[in-house]
């Protein structure tokens, strides 16, 4: 069996296991909710991975797309009883428009400057959502109208089990997109840009377009995930959905922790971070205000100090150290 085939088989097995897992859990219970959030953040991390890992654009404002998706579908649902499936697609379109808009001033920015600009953009969205109360409900937040019986078309269900499958499907789709980009022509071009942008330009790579496409794809995915989130949580407010700490940095942290640029990175990162956060919150209760975020900060700092020059595949290196086949430095694409 070639490596490719065995990995593929492994992935299928993984999906099947994840699909069967919730059947043994209480569909109105808390555990399944944790799994849903884990899947959501794994998808978000993967979406961030497209720009952060492949295109090497450190975005600290991805929450903008998440919020745009969530607010668009929810507002359209409230005003026009529009199905969140459709509302979500409109949200995706708006997010792409925002990504395009943002790309204009940030096209030539790199590194710190790009991070700062995206941070500002995310925060700007948050301020707008907070003050445009007529449309978004302002700081009070916005609720998804309650449908006691649920409906697939309206993406609302009496238990959380169907949401779980939606999140799982989303994760599979996002991973497929990531894989396609990474191993395809776009990924090739992005890698060239990452290595040496000027050289890439010289050999004819349209760097602006490549980065833009990656950004738009990432934005669209993130926005749809926002819709899925809205239909799961039924309530959100600007500070959470556009939050730097709650969304933007968490997405990046998950991708980085698990291995930025790798397909498995966000999966591992989310599987570690989200349950840990929930356990901490459950266990410490009210004395833990800020504990999980403090932990993120501390973990980020430690992870980087451990290996400042190679943020990629930290887990990979640790596991390589422990597997019998030895610690060959992983420079492969997978």
């Amino acid at each position: 069996m070639t490596t490719q085939r065995s990995l593929f088989a492994l992935a299928c097995a993984g999906v099947i296991v994840m699909a069967l897992l919730p059947l043994g859990l209480d569909p109105r219970g808390y555990e399944i909710r944790i799994l849903c959030i884990t899947l959501l953040f794994a998808s978000l991390g993967q979406a961030w991975n497209i720009v952060g890992g492949l295109a090497n654009q450190i975005s600290l404002g991805h929450a903008a797309y998440f919020g745009i998706g969530a607010y668009t579908s929810t507002i359209l649902l409230k005003l026009f009883a529009l199905s969140p499936w459709l509302g979500g697609m409109i949200g995706m379109a708006l997010a792409v428009a925002f990504a395009l808009l943002l790309s204009l001033p940030t096209a030539r920015l790199k590194g710190h400057y790009y991070a700062l600009a995206t941070l500002a953009a995310g925060e700007a969205m948050r301020v707008i959502a907070n003050s445009w109360a007529d449309v978004t409900g302002g700081p009070v937040g916005i609720s998804v109208p309650y449908l006691p019986d649920g409906s697939l078309w309206m993406m609302q269900f009496p238990t959380v089990l169907p949401n779980y499958y939606l999140f799982l499907a989303a994760l599979v789709v996002v991973c497929l997109i990531f894989w396609k980009i990474k191993t395809g022509a776009l990924g090739y071009r992005l890698r060239a840009i990452k290595e040496n942008e000027q050289a890439a330009e010289v050999i004819g790579v349209d760097t602006y377009r490549a980065k833009l496409i990656a950004a738009c794809v990432s934005a669209a995915i993130t926005a749809f995930l926002g819709t899925l989130y809205a239909q799961f949580q039924f309530f959100f407010d600007p500070d959470t959905i556009f939050g730097v700490a709650t969304i933007s940095v968490k997405m990046a942290l998950i991708a980085i922790l698990g291995g930025v640029g790798r397909l498995s990175g966000p999966l591992v990162g989310a599987a570690f971070i989200i349950p840990m956060e929930e356990i901490a919150n459950s266990y410490f209760g009210s004395s833990a205000a800020g504990l999980s975020q403090f932990a993120y900060g501390a973990i980020l700092v430690l992870v980087i100090l451990l290996n400042p020059h190679g943020l990629t595949a930290l887990f990979g290196q640790i596991s390589a150290r422990f597997t019998r086949k030895g610690a060959t430095r992983d420079r492969s694409i997978a």
Partner: protein, 296 residues
Amino acid sequence: MQNLLTLLQTTIDGILIGGVYAVISIGLSLVFGVMHIVNFAHAEFLMIGMFIAWFAWFYAGIDPMLGAFIALAVTFLIGMVMQRTLIKPILHAPQVSQIFLTVGLLFALENGALLLFGADYRSVSTSYQTEALTLLSTEAGRLFVPLDKLYAFLMALLSGGALWYFLSRTRWGRAMRATAQDPMAARLMGIDTDRMYMIAFGLGVGTTAFGGAVILPYITASPTVGSQFVVLMFTAVVLGGLGSVAGAVVGGIMVGLIQSFSALFLPIQLMNLTLFVIFILVLAFRPEGLVARRRA
């Protein structure tokens, strides 16, 4: 007449708070200028300064204006230690690492404070909080200078002036500027660049902490107060050009004026939006800043 008074008052307010923003932002610019690191966690040191001054006031009755010196000293030391342990390892690391280290530091500091001190707001009660200097009093209205803001402004001037003197007139200041310009050459000249980095970072976060302490009379302290100043600081620094200390001063005053004037026309909630937009535009079209000086 009332419109003229309003304009004058708004300008005075803008300059007063702008001066403080300037001092708060100088540190950020200094750190970038010398080490080429954007310290995302910089605003948290403002919070640390505020808390130190608050504790000094609460337990020892020390006025925040004096407590600011304590805040400066303590934060300077903290900064030096942090530079050695956290920043030094990433000085030559890829930008991803640098960005996320300081972002991680931001979360650790803010939430560490939250865990230690609780999320309650703490304010001080001083006599000058509720007093103002009347410059002009006519039927159409008054022109006045709030005392707490005035004192903060004067202290900010003091610290800004001291820093300027240090950088331009002392040997150590010169050494620091040399390190910023060309670390290799500086080392060849016998300058201990490692020590320069430590001092630069210490001074950078120390001055910000100083700024945080002097605004305590009119701003309440809480672990999350840093996040309100992040936009302001970064806008000020970017306006003046990342790395230019003088630029940060100009930038700070501009931010103060922009904020003051936008309060006249916009709802309070949108005041910061103007700054965000300006920030992004400046980054996009003139990343070297409006005060186009040669980068230090």
